[in-house]
């Protein structure tokens, strides 16, 4: 009784403050069983700062207004104000998203490693690049990630692919995009802990209490994301997202795909987050299969089951069972779940030259187009004139429309290649390009274990071809494609072997041979130049 009274008061107080500062916190967990027995889980925690406007860069020199937040993460708010960031997206992912089997991810940013992009207005005393530098370092500190390495050698501005997701205030100001990826960044507990600290309920209650590092980091794929955007008329929204692909078949002893929150996260929801305006668990239901879902959801239609966490009996442990299956049988062939499938490989065994090859398959019966973006560090330099497209061995360079290309400058800036590919229905295009691997200055080699350099993923944006939409008679097809619009697809990262000296070996050899040569030279020189004279000691003089 006492406990519930206390919590009631607490909730009331918090509720009052929330209302006063006009902050809203929503949390959602979306669970989706996948074709290969795995489960995709997406956590989304959004905090809306009602009526707030991103800082105008012109005011950067002046003193900023005071920041009083209740739910909105202060540490992040300070960074956003300090560098006048309008829109910001940071993702930290581990693993390779399997588009063919898992379909489009619920959060589009699934490139391996760290990816950071921000839209910032120009003006004021600090340039965009200076603020980008500060932003990187501040976020690196906040998330314990090596974002500081996202320097000029990795920063590009691919505006076609990374359009703002919110709105940009004050249209008189020019907005600039800065984008950088660090594919070799690993995501682990040290990133999750500061991430959870940004949440109003931490991982103590509500949906966030399911974020158990032991299970999350044992998933086949996992990623953290932070998205800040300005919504015209609403305010500034911070959305923290966690996405994971968990494999109940692997972890279960009898190889079944039945899952429950306690099985995949090893936790149940013991209590709701008191400050959350909404707290929802949505489950996508299996289609054309016999299944059971427990406990019975708050609302349910043929596709989704929805649980309102606050109203459900605690502890809450959502589960889907396939009672007729004794063992999960993998489907022998899984149709690709996305409109296009992309494979990218780096061929060639030499340490000087190589060959970049992409195969892009259109899995649809209509013609599609796809934006193709490469942001390649100068560790791999393109020979753009060797870029060729082939379909079934026939050269089809006419299907590649080059939008822009900024060549890489060694030691300074990465290459930026943006193109639009036209993909005929049900066909596979093979794109090839010769590349050259440069020599690095010896100070540019990292001091730690040398395994090669990770190269960032290429990004594809499939969209309906203009021809197809004109001809397109099937409205459903059109709807599917418009749904695809602006969904980014990331290819897996590549590893490039550059010529690397074995630093310890030459050092030993040089020291050894120098010593030997010095000794031999000394002896020989001494023998050659010394004059041996028989000195007769005069007995008379000595006596």
């Amino acid at each position: 009784m006492r406990y519930s009274f206390k919590s009631f008061v607490c909730t009331l107080c918090l509720g009052v403050t929330v209302a006063a500062l006009s902050e809203e916190f929503h949390e959602e967990l979306f669970l989706r069983p996948l074709r290969d027995g795995k489960v995709s889980a997406r956590f989304s925690f959004s905090t809306l700062l009602n009526g707030a406007v991103p800082r105008d860069p012109e005011t950067l020199g002046a003193e900023d207004e005071s920041q009083l937040y209740t739910l909105f993460p202060l540490a992040l708010g300070q960074i956003l104000r300090e560098y006048a960031v309008t829109e910001l997206h940071l993702t930290l992912n581990a693993g390779k998203w399997n588009y063919d089997r898992w379909g489009y991810p619920d959060e589009p940013g699934v490139g391996t490693g760290a990816e950071l992009w921000a839209w910032m207005g120009e003006g004021g005393i600090a340039s965009v690049d200076n603020r980008w530098l500060g932003l990187r370092n501040a976020l690196a500190g906040l998330f314990c990630a090596s974002l500081g390495s996202l320097d000029e050698q990795r920063t590009t501005s691919p505006v076609l692919t990374f359009q703002p997701e919110g709105s940009l205030p004050n249209s008189t100001v020019n907005y600039r995009l800065r984008h950088a990826t660090l594919p070799s960044e690993h995501v682990c507990t040290e990133n999750l802990t500061p991430f959870l600290k940004l949440l109003p309920c931490k991982s103590l209650s509500g949906i966030a209490s399911l974020l158990n590092p032991h299970k999350l980091f044992d998933a086949d794929w996992h990623g953290l994301g932070m998205h800040v955007r300005y919504l015209e008329g609403a305010g500034v929204e911070v959305r923290l997202a966690t996405q994971a692909v968990l494999d109940p078949v692997r972890t279960s002893s009898d190889k079944r795909r039945d899952w429950s929150l306690s099985a995949i996260f090893d936790r149940r929801i013991e209590k709701a987050c008191p400050v959350a305006r909404s707290s929802v668990i949505r489950v996508r239901l299996p289609q054309n299969e016999t299944y059971a879902i427990v406990p019975s959801p708050s609302t349910m239609d043929s596709i989704y089951a929805t649980y309102l966490v606050r109203e459900m009996e605690k502890p809450l442990d959502v589960a889907i069972l396939w009672p007729e299956e004794t063992k999960f049988v993998y489907p022998t062939a899984i149709e690709p779940q996305t409109h296009i499938s992309v494979h990218r490989t780096l061929n060639g065994a030499s340490q000087h030259a190589g060959h970049l090859a992409l195969t892009v398959t259109n899995n649809h019966d209509t013609e599609l187009q796809a934006g193709y973006l490469e942001t390649m560090p100068w560790l791999l330099q393109f020979y753009l004139h060797t870029l060729h497209a082939e379909i079934d061995g026939v050269l089809r360079d006419d299907l590649v429309k080059l939008i822009s290309y900024t060549p890489a400058l060694p030691h300074v800036q990465p290459a930026l290649l943006q193109a639009v590919l036209t993909l005929p229905p049900r066909s596979t295009m093979r794109l090839t390009m010769d590349v050259v691997k440069p020599f690095l200055a010896y100070t540019e080699h990292p001091p730690d274990a040398q395994r090669g350099w990770d190269l960032p993923p290429a990004v594809f944006v499939p969209f309906a071809s203009q021809n197809a939409s004109q001809i397109g008679s099937d409205p459903q097809q059109g709807a599917v494609l418009s749904d695809v619009r602006s969904t980014r697809m990331y290819t897996p990262v590549l590893l490039v072997d550059l010529a690397t000296p074995d630093f310890s070996m030459p050092y030993n050899v040089i020291i050894m041979s120098c010593t030997l040569i010095a000794l031999i030279f000394g002896m020989v020189f001494n023998t050659l130049t010394r004059k041996f004279v028989v000195v007769r000691v005069d007995e008379k003089k000595s006596s």
């Binding site: 399997n98 996992h222 078949v249 061929n347 090859a357 395994r451 590549l494 072997d497």
Partner: protein, 583 residues
């Protein structure tokens, strides 16, 4: 060279890379997995018994990989060589590792044909069953940091060549292979499983790759330790049994020799070294793993030596699991340990510094000999026509003459050398023609006759008088020795065994090739040399065919090297014997 296998030489192997930590993990491969392997074996035996085609087998394998939940595919290929064409179908599956970016990969492979008898038709059914069962087992761990690629190749070497070249996007003119639809990252290490018998007593390690390439020794050492301590299976170098009887000493040898431990040890080592030299000098891969070395992949073959027991799927599964776990620890490529070594016993090896001098010493001796000939060619001792006229004051017969400087006909000698190498190229060109392959009797004789008869007209050259120009034979010998010495020393870094064999074969004959006034002696010496140079065309037809097929299929440069470099060098020496000397 004789000293190389001495028991006192060599040192124990050790793990150089700290990250490897071999044998430090618990293995989880259990009897359920063994059972699954047995079921697969039954299915494969059924396929074998009804003479299933490659396509049928590949279809079965790919379905099984997919049933395990892996992305799998097949690859068809056709090789066209002068000996005919070979087709086959490879099967492979990629297991993407949880959380890994998929930039690095390890390969577990088995070829359909075992390496027994160089792919003479013995099937590697148990090896293939192991790979299938391992695919089910290994994908269930989340601890892999690298992708796992399971490959079952058709044929013996041809299947893997088709697969690995397609994986690296390298095209070969005589190979038509499907492009791979599934790929992973850079392959760092590979284990090839070869398990032809019913059970096995030892695991043999085969490591020689194409053109004499070797994998990093850490891989062999880790496997040796894991097999010994985790799997409980003793390891052998190749399939050489460790028993004392197997040395094959004749019965008349005295007991003291038979019972000498030192001698036995020496015998074992000699056997291993000779086997190694046999593979490496011919540039031949000692197993399917050898084809991977060309792409900087460290690979070995685990050969389950057929025996009545006691080991089976249980042991090989544990050894492979633990070895993969060890390689999974790698943060960088294997680089710490030796790439040049001579494994004389499973745990004893020779560093390059211990064995390289043997070939280099021969090479240096040849160089000095060549330089001496060069100096000799520069001047000649002419006895005085009228003794006692000039040198009366000094006296003595030794001083009864004078040194004359003379010119060296370098150009003529070089023309002969270039011509002999060109002749070698012609021989190589003809050897790779189909008519040579199809005619086992006359073609070799014609091929042998061509280079053997070509230099004979030099016999007709008139005997030269002493002039102020050095005789051609001396010049030729000098340059020939210098060139051979250079070739040997360069080669010893690339392929020690080949350099050692050439030093052994050509060292003495080339140094002692001399010119005689006796025509019969000249011809006799010439015949000996020519047999040394080109005798293999007639005597070792099987070897020739194998070398040529290796060149065409796998790009092994042993055949062109022998034709274009080695044989012409000996031929030059033969010409030295043939050339008339000065009166």
């Amino acid at each position: 060279m004789i000293a190389i296998p001495l028991p006192t030489l060599g040192q124990g192997t050790y793990i150089d890379e700290n990250a490897l930590q071999p044998g430090q993990v618990n293995t989880y491969w259990h009897w359920g997995d063994v059972h699954r392997a047995d079921r697969y074996l039954e299915a494969l035996e059924a396929l074998r018994d009804r003479n299933a085609s490659s396509t049928e087998i590949a279809g079965y394998l790919v379905a099984e990989f997919r049933r395990a939940g892996l992305a799998a595919d097949t690859q068809e290929y056709t090789f066209t060589t002068t000996g005919g064409s070979r087709t086959g179908v490879n099967t492979y599956a990629v297991s993407p590792s949880p959380r890994a970016s998929g930039t690095e990969a390890m390969v577990i492979s088995a070829s359909w044909l075992s390496r027994t008898g160089e792919g003479d038709g013995t099937l590697n059914l148990r090896g293939v069953s192991s790979v299938l069962s391992l695919a089910w087992f290994l994908k269930d761990s989340s601890l892999w940091a690298k992708d796992l690629i399971f490959v079952v190749t058709d044929g013996y070497l041809d299947g893997m060549q088709a697969w690995v070249t397609a994986y690296h996007g390298v095209s070969q003119p005589n190979l038509r292979a499907e492009a791979l639809r599934l790929t992973s990252g850079v392959i760092w290490t590979a284990l090839n499983i070869d398990y032809p018998g019913h059970s096995f007593s030892h695991l043999g390690v085969f490591f020689e790759g194409l053109n004499g390439r070797l994998p990093n020794q850490d891989l062999i050492n880790s496997f040796q330790r894991i097999s010994q301590y985790t799997g409980g299976v003793p390891v052998l170098v190749y399939d050489h049994q460790d028993s004392l009887e197997s040395l094959g000493l004749p019965s008349w040898t005295p007991d003291i020799m038979k019972n000498s431990d030192q001698l036995k040890e020496y015998g074992h080592r000699v056997r291993n070294v000779l086997r190694h030299v046999g593979y490496q000098a011919r540039g031949q891969a000692s197993g399917v793993h050898g084809l991977l070395h060309q792409f900087r992949i460290d690979a070995i073959t685990l050969f389950a030596i057929p025996a009545t027991g006691p080991h089976g799927f249980h042991s090989i599964g544990r050894v492979v699991e633990s070895t993969l776990r060890t390689m999974n620890n790698l943060l960088e490529r294997l680089h710490a340990s030796f790439f040049f070594f001579l494994l004389v016993r499973p745990t004893t090896f020779l560093k390059i510094g211990s064995f390289l001098p043997s070939a280099i010493l021969v090479s240096v001796a040849m160089m000095l000999r060549g330089l001496r000939e060069w100096v000799n060619a520069g001047s000649v001792w002419v006895p005085n026509a009228t003794p006692g006229e000039k040198n009366e004051t000094i006296g003595g017969p030794a001083y009864n003459g004078q040194w004359l400087r003379r010119q060296r006909p370098v150009l003529k000698a070089i023309v002969i050398m270039v011509a002999s190498h060109a002749l070698g190229m012609v021989v190589f060109y003809l050897l790779t023609r189909p008519w040579y392959l199809h005619d086992p009797i006359f073609a070799p004789l014609i091929m042998f006759g061509l280079p053997a008869i070509a230099p004979l007209p030099t016999l007709l050259l008139p005997k030269k008088e002493v002039t102020n120009e050095a005789p051609l034979s001396v010049m030729l010998k000098s340059l020939n020795l210098c060139l051979t010495s250079t070739v040997i020393s360069i080669l010893s870094m690339l392929n020690f065994s080949l350099a050692a064999v050439i030093a052994f074969l050509a060292g003495v004959p080339l140094c002692y090739a001399s010119y005689s006034t006796n025509v019969a002696l000249r011809v006799l010496r010439y015949v000996v040399h020519i047999f040394l140079a080109f005798g293999w065309i007639v005597l070792l037809r099987g070897e020739v065919l194998k070398a040529i097929s290796n060149w065409e299929l796998l790009g092994v440069w042993f055949a062109p090297f022998v034709c274009v470099v080695y044989a012409p060098l000996v031929l030059q020496s033969a010409v030295v014997c043939l050339l008339p000397t000065e009166g």
